[in-house]
Symmetry: C2
Amino acid sequence: MTTGPHLPHRLQPLLAPRSIALVGASDNPGRIGGMPLDLLRHFAFAGAVYPVNPKYEEVFGYRCYPDIESLPEACDLVVLAIAAPEVTAMLERCHARGIPAAIVYAAGFAEAAGEGLTLQRTLEAFAQRSGMVVAGPNCMGFANLNLHAYTAFASVFKNVPLQTGPGRASIVTQSGNVCSAVFALARRLGVPVSHFINTGNEACVEFSEYLEYLAQDDATECVVGYVEQLRNGPRFIDAALAFARKRKPLILYKAGETDKGSEAVRSHTSALAGDLALYKAAFEQLNVIRGTDFAQMADLAYLSGFRARQGGPRVAIVTMSGALGAILADKFIGAGLEVPTLSDDLQRTLREGIPDYGMVSNPVDVTGNVVNSPQFVRTILGALAQSDQVDTVVVYAPGYLLDRMAEPLVEVCGQWNKLVVAIDTGAATCRDQLAQAGVPVFDDIGRATQALAPFCQWLARHEAVARWAALRQAQAVESGTPPVLPAALNEHATKLLLAGYGVPSLQGLPARDADEAVHAAGQLGYPVALKILSADIAHKTEVGGVRLNVADAQALRRHCEDMLANVQRHSPAARIDGFLVQPMASGGVAELIAGITHDPVFGPALTVGLGGVLTELYRDASHRLLPVDAAMVQTMLRELRAWPLLDGFRGRPLADVAGACEGIAALSRAQAALGPQVREIEINPLQVRAQGQGAFALDALVVVQD
Amino acid sequence: MTTGPHLPHRLQPLLAPRSIALVGASDNPGRIGGMPLDLLRHFAFAGAVYPVNPKYEEVFGYRCYPDIESLPEACDLVVLAIAAPEVTAMLERCHARGIPAAIVYAAGFAEAAGEGLTLQRTLEAFAQRSGMVVAGPNCMGFANLNLHAYTAFASVFKNVPLQTGPGRASIVTQSGNVCSAVFALARRLGVPVSHFINTGNEACVEFSEYLEYLAQDDATECVVGYVEQLRNGPRFIDAALAFARKRKPLILYKAGETDKGSEAVRSHTSALAGDLALYKAAFEQLNVIRGTDFAQMADLAYLSGFRARQGGPRVAIVTMSGALGAILADKFIGAGLEVPTLSDDLQRTLREGIPDYGMVSNPVDVTGNVVNSPQFVRTILGALAQSDQVDTVVVYAPGYLLDRMAEPLVEVCGQWNKLVVAIDTGAATCRDQLAQAGVPVFDDIGRATQALAPFCQWLARHEAVARWAALRQAQAVESGTPPVLPAALNEHATKLLLAGYGVPSLQGLPARDADEAVHAAGQLGYPVALKILSADIAHKTEVGGVRLNVADAQALRRHCEDMLANVQRHSPAARIDGFLVQPMASGGVAELIAGITHDPVFGPALTVGLGGVLTELYRDASHRLLPVDAAMVQTMLRELRAWPLLDGFRGRPLADVAGACEGIAALSRAQAALGPQVREIEINPLQVRAQGQGAFALDALVVVQD
């Protein structure tokens, strides 16, 4: 889908138009047919502007045309400020006139259901057929602030500080209100904006295509977005990886964080939101920063201007107050950053200028005395900037205290590329000077924390994303023709199938009847586990299809008989292949559950958790988009709050984590090889034994696509 | 400790001085001996001011005295701007002069350790002996803004908007920097401040005594505070309950939220922070609002001005944008509020004026159209204000859209007392008008959420706090002379002791030897559990002192022999009383752990959790200060994330929650009756059987104070 580096992207006429027509033009700047014309005039768009309306000769100083056919040229972009039922017919005419791109403001399409849905289907079919690039409908329009190309009916542009330098942050949202709100906040922070994009119903151009464009747009150094529904998961993944590759922050607020939020979103866009836990995991995996607040998103756009500096989650805190140091440490650690205790050597260096009652362990409390000695501040900051014990330095000093430190701060930041951040809750005069020198300045501890924590994590994730992108690339090359699976597999067949991809299991012996079961048990040795064997029964326990600790042949025969009766009573339609006889699986340190599901947005994904009922209650699970390798699985296991159970908690033996990781990673290979015919794969439980003794699927399930 | 309503509180001369002396006066407004005098002059303190310094005749227009003895009167308050070693001697002279209260600025006391610690002990001894009220040392001083009585060396007072009306919010902090920072934020929000109090080292007057004063201070309608260490838990509880009784919000930031934060705090004040989980629980129990951010604390002080309105956690959201509704719902639910779906009836009422594409279920999306019809806005808001389905109404409308709704908002708030909150991310001109009418206005969604959530919860907790205060009062009356306990009790004696207070347990039969054990088992019936019986062994399993499922007499004899050998090998010094033979406890739905510990700050507290290793990993426990009753225990159990296990999760039987609650509440009675000689009581596990079948301590432990 991505165009080559030398071909213009197909969205170019939409997002960087050289000439703009507006159908339904008005001479009233308060109406949607007038507002964009007023903005184009006000901000002096350099290209041609063609208002279209037979009622006027001229509007806002632009010559007005009676119809689209009478324009002197095929302009790049037409904006339709007309009612929904007229839209597609007008687009046909614009297309015939040779106009490649359009924006449709009108509401009353899919979001209104009923007749609107039909109108949207017609519009989609036209766009598909014609290849015309149609944005919206039900959107507020766009602005390319570097070109002064305003096609949005939004009053916000005149109400914020005027932008002088080139814009570098782009805003893309599925809601016009959110677009305006985030834009206003970013501008008030002084962040120069390049693109303002409200995508609306996305009938023809969807969210990720805008991202694709912006990833390769030189005027976009970061994107701040709001999304209710991603309609094209694979393209989103590609776009996010392009952002990651170019080290441009992609900051997205995903609506539907809670059930109630989802409900509101569904009613709003008739959208089915993907599973939230997987969204979070996917964002982290793709190094997409999760927006949590408009102010935080604006702050992140501000921080993006400092993305070339080296930073990360291990923070050194420098303050003049023990209390503030404690508060900052609380906040940072609470937000997922680290405040490591500094080495004795480094503490000794810091101690040389800090009085006894100050602190040097981190937080570093230089005490109020130190502002009298800029040379000493330089030494402290220099030592921290050079140290490999911390990734980021945060200096908290209110007002004039920060001013006293400005000079050494600027000097140190000129000398070393480490990220140094200042927080000033007073009214320091050095703020601009610091920002110029590469030091972002915040005026609130809470806001600093909320933006800094995800930004530092973003800085630290570049390598992991690149690694995953390479793994994904490699798998795309590898995948061959998958074997064709039957509609359903019984447990024995499932374990054999998965074994071929390297998933170890306690396979056991299949038996057609009680005699064969007794024979099998004789080979395995008692006690054994007895299970019903049927491709039609996914949950054996619920139908009385599992007996553990069967002690001898007599008991085994009795169980075979009872089990068959039970199962036939519970599931009369199930085809029974017989029994599976397994050795009793003792010796496990822990039992995991590992499963692959198919997310409607992101495609195949892996979930790993500790087995059992409590894990479900505590929602202690880790998710990843596929593919994964063993190293990624290990990271997933370490993310579990139950991880200590695998790691020698309270004198337990260490579990065979390596074995578990290999076994789970093999599921990813199985999914890749079997392809979309497989809807789900689950191992439950995966018994993890003590270190060196492996991990084995005690049960396994493959659900084949209907 | 509390003085009667007609006697002035002993802190009155400190916090509402009619006359102030300053020893160590300076004529330089930049020095600590000059700054307060400059402020007193600048803000025109009406009382007498006596600078003391033989160097000057006059400073800041005040006559200066050579020494404290030459003052024309015994003033209310003396401020000492002199070095630490001179402090106590000077206090002696001030005391001799008849001055009842003093503030000590000097650092170099306990916080500096070594010699400083000695200085502080001397100071404490003097204050104790003399009865003089001494604030600090190592403090920045105070300000009573209503009296213009400035005794703080803080530059912040001149740098914030001038306060015209009477102050109503007081600020009390253990850190001077935090005091200034919170004061500045509150003033910038327009919150009028009454007291500015920095408590410093609290050698003689500690944090909770200030709270005690402020609870009864008419000029204080809320307190915003910062605390690293509470030195007097019982007085804090009394003070917090006084705030609750008067419905004044008490908002406290507790430093040491994370281990790193605690470390910084310990170094800062040599303070041992109490257990954080218990702090959180105690704050909630006492209806103290936890501050999480200076901005949030200032916002809560602002909200406190609206505390007379009726509100609570069930919020109706009214917006003009589905997206914003979804975002607000996400935020509110994430912060612990509820966004209930409205009844069909109420939805029908709302639907009458809302277009089809708007939403009426909650969030309510009135759509942009509605601002043209103020009458309709009035109907919607009126319907929500009257409804008992929601406690609080939040209206989000940016800029002019909020202005359009201002009139109906004011009208509705005049008619009904329900809390209605507005959020305006634009620049509405109606903000002051709304605030006057009782509608707080926020300009950021995140900040609104962070303050509103705890405030709504505070509004809803009045009843629970009153109930607990009554329970505590009743218990204080009841408690008689406790029985004297031996230094240690074995399991059987422990269970008997607790049974006396109503704690049910599987008591079993004690046996001195194997013969008696076999006899006991014969009475109980096999299988039985066998345990070692010794007051010296708290953790029986770890010394091989427990055998479950003993099937017959032969096995029992063997186990008795083995067990005795094991235990004697592991704990040769333990006195063995014999064995405890118990019936095997089958039939439990869940096992809980319930324990009473003695918190160094708050005293006896109850912890309840699900038994087992995972609960510890997930830190799934609930805490309360004692006393508790069965209803409170039930609330605690419902707070557990594992609660569904007791409540029929996935087809399990319902547990006997009532029985469990009675049993656990009995622990509270036991603690009350046994008094401080008991350090810990623990039931682990408490086996909870199916509904109607009770709950039983399978094991129990009482640790007697050394």
